[in-house]
């Protein structure tokens, strides 16, 4: 079963939920955790994995042989991203705009363009606490999009694992879509504030559109705002767990310590959370 944890927005406690769930379940099941938040991966700070394999993720970018090039301009015309421009003096490639689609090299009538690999990030694989199979993607600084890294990371999904937990990037952009693709369940982590409500609505919209079942975890739960409960009622997306607003929890987080490793009642709660998810997936 693949569970993707998302949040509509960063900082809601997505990583807390993903790492605790992985750790608690690993006592009973074969668990894999993939950190797909490639812009700011943090799960490793809580699970201290031993990384034993690092793979580079590359895209193919064009390299122009200026002596063969006749400056006909076909490549620039074909490129939808403005990543290649033809000047009198020669052809220029703007690497950071290139998506690596290959259109320019396919169209060039002189075959003046070859494609060379350019690293945009890495995938790290290893083993964390309790034999949790661990994987994370890291986007290089200055690269625009992590979608390809997430795609490569997901190729390492261990089909023999009982549970695969994917820590998605924040927001509802294309990289979140990539993290959700193929998931059996989406766990929406939110906070009981107008911000949280706004963001969870967007996330729920996306998940519904993709036809994935979902449930809500309310983090930093406190009195005073019942918008999430109303939303749960009106949308039919159940609230599966509430984590209270508690400085003790915030403090453990700040030290990079798993909540459920320190406070045993949370071990029970995360076990129950999984039970409910299993039921929802099977109906």
């Amino acid at each position: 079963m693949i569970i993707t944890v998302l949040s509509g927005k960063g900082g809601t406690g997505k990583t807390t939920v993903a790492t605790n769930l992985a750790w608690v379940l690993s006592f009973e099941w074969k668990v894999q955790l993939l950190d797909a938040d490639v812009e700011e991966p943090n799960a490793h700070l809580f699970l201290s994995p031993q990384i034993d394999e690092t793979k580079s993720v590359e895209i193919l970018i064009p390299k122009v042989n200026q002596t063969v090039c006749t400056k006909c301009g076909e490549c620039a015309k074909a490129c939808q991203f403005g990543a290649i421009s033809v000047f009198k003096a020669g052809v220029m490639v703007f690497e950071s705009l290139c998506h690596g689609c290959g259109a320019c090299s396919m169209i060039c009538p002189e075959r003046a363009i070859t494609e060379i690999p350019k690293p945009i990030g890495q995938i790290k694989l290893g083993e964390a606490l309790n034999d949790i199979r661990f994987g994370m993607g890291v986007l290089n600084i200055g690269e625009p999009s992590g979608v390809k890294i997430i795609r490569e990371l997901k190729k390492n999904i261990d089909t023999s694992a009982d549970v695969v937990i994917i820590d998605a990037p924040p927001g509802t952009s294309c990289s979140v879509v990539e993290s959700l693709r193929g998931a059996d369940f989406a766990l929406l982590v939110t906070e009981p504030t107008p911000f949280g409500l706004h963001d969870v609505r967007m996330a729920a919209e996306l998940v519904a559109e993709m036809g994935i079942k979902s449930g809500i975890v309310v983090n930093r739960d406190s009195e005073g705002f019942n918008g999430i409960d109303l939303f749960s009622k009106e949308s039919g997306i159940p609230i599966l767990m509430r984590i209270p607003y508690d400085t003790r929890i915030a403090e453990l987080y700040s030290r990079g310590i798993l909540l459920s490793a320190q406070l045993p009642e949370w071990k029970t709660k995360f076990t129950e959370l999984f039970k409910e998810i299993k039921e929802l997936v099977n109906v």
């Binding site: 952009s173 979140v176 107008p194 706004h198 996330a203 403090e251 987080y253 700040s254 030290r255």
Partner: protein
């Protein structure tokens, strides 16, 4: 126009709280919400929309089935696995399609076209007596950097009506929307928190801001939750010669303000407000205004 971008590397560090407060403390400013993926500033400012613009991001490939013979050539060349060939029918997944046009080039039957795709909207509004520009990206869209650029452009237009500062609530992360919020910024305010992940994210955003050669300073939010981590951040900043604009103590009133959907400045007795005013002063000093 002076452009101040508030960023954080990651959401949830208090970026919106700080940028909302700074927007209220400046006087002749324009408010810009560049967190187009999950915009929240409008929940505080409740702007009245004056103009609405559609935003067309990248294009998407669409198959004309009157011409398509299901030969599958397009599927072979699409590097983004956006084309599926199943049960004799070829379909394009709009979420995966990057609009590169390779399928258009390769289809032997001219059965594929690229069509402009509405990726979101942006709005020019009034929030009290301040102009505000904000946006909404459609879920699942990728071209958020472009929408961020539109928001910034629309905000900068207020220069003509005599506004001299824009305070931008930046996009989280270090990818294209985030860098799009800092390009052209006069000054970048990085908000961080003293947690294991906060420090990790801080280093990545600092590297990013440096890559774009922007001037910047750091604000340590919730500074009292972990004194050791705070020291770690402070000494990192010192070693790296990074200005610390100030610290905001952990303050439950911030949460109350968020729950009620108002700015923290509505609670003048809050310790956070005192710190934010100090940060505001330091920021003005840095900008020499």
């Amino acid at each position: 126009m002076i452009q101040i971008a508030v960023v954080s590397g990651k959401g949830g560090t208090g970026k919106t709280t700080l940028s909302a407060a700074l927007n209220l403390l400046f006087e002749n400013n324009v408010i810009a919400d560049c967190d187009v993926d999950a915009p929240n500033l409008h929940l505080i400012f409740r702007p009245i929309i004056q103009q609405k613009y559609e935003y067309f991001g990248g294009k998407k490939a669409v198959i004309d089935y009157t011409k398509c013979t299901s030969c599958g050539v397009c599927e072979k060349f699409c590097r983004f696995n956006a084309i599926k060939h199943e049960e004799g029918k070829v379909t394009i997944d709009p979420y995966a399609c990057e609009g590169c046009g390779v399928c258009v080039l390769k289809c032997p039957y001219s059965a594929v076209n690229l069509v402009s795709n509405k990726a979101g909207e942006y709005y020019v509004s009034m929030a009290g007596n301040r102009p505000m520009v904000h946006a909404k990206l459609q879920p699942g869209e990728e071209t958020s950097g472009g929408l961020v650029a539109e928001v910034r452009k629309a905000a900068l237009k207020f220069k003509e009506s005599g506004r001299d500062i824009v305070v931008i609530d930046g996009a989280p992360g270090i990818g294209c929307p985030a860098t799009s919020s800092i390009t052209g910024a006069t000054y970048v305010v990085i908000v961080t928190e003293p947690t294991a992940s906060g420090f990790h994210d801080l280093q990545r955003i600092v590297e990013t801001v440096r890559l774009y050669r922007r001037r910047f300073g750091v604000v340590i939010n919730k500074s009292t939750i972990n004194p050791e981590r705070k020291e770690e951040i402070a000494s990192y900043c010192k070693n790296e010669n990074i200005t610390i604009l100030g610290e905001i103590p952990f303050d439950p009133i911030v949460n109350t303000a968020t729950v009620n959907g108002v700015s923290i400045l509505e609670y003048p007795e809050s310790p956070a407000v005192y710190s934010i005013v100090e940060i505001f002063k330091n920021l003005k000093k840095e900008l020499e205004i």
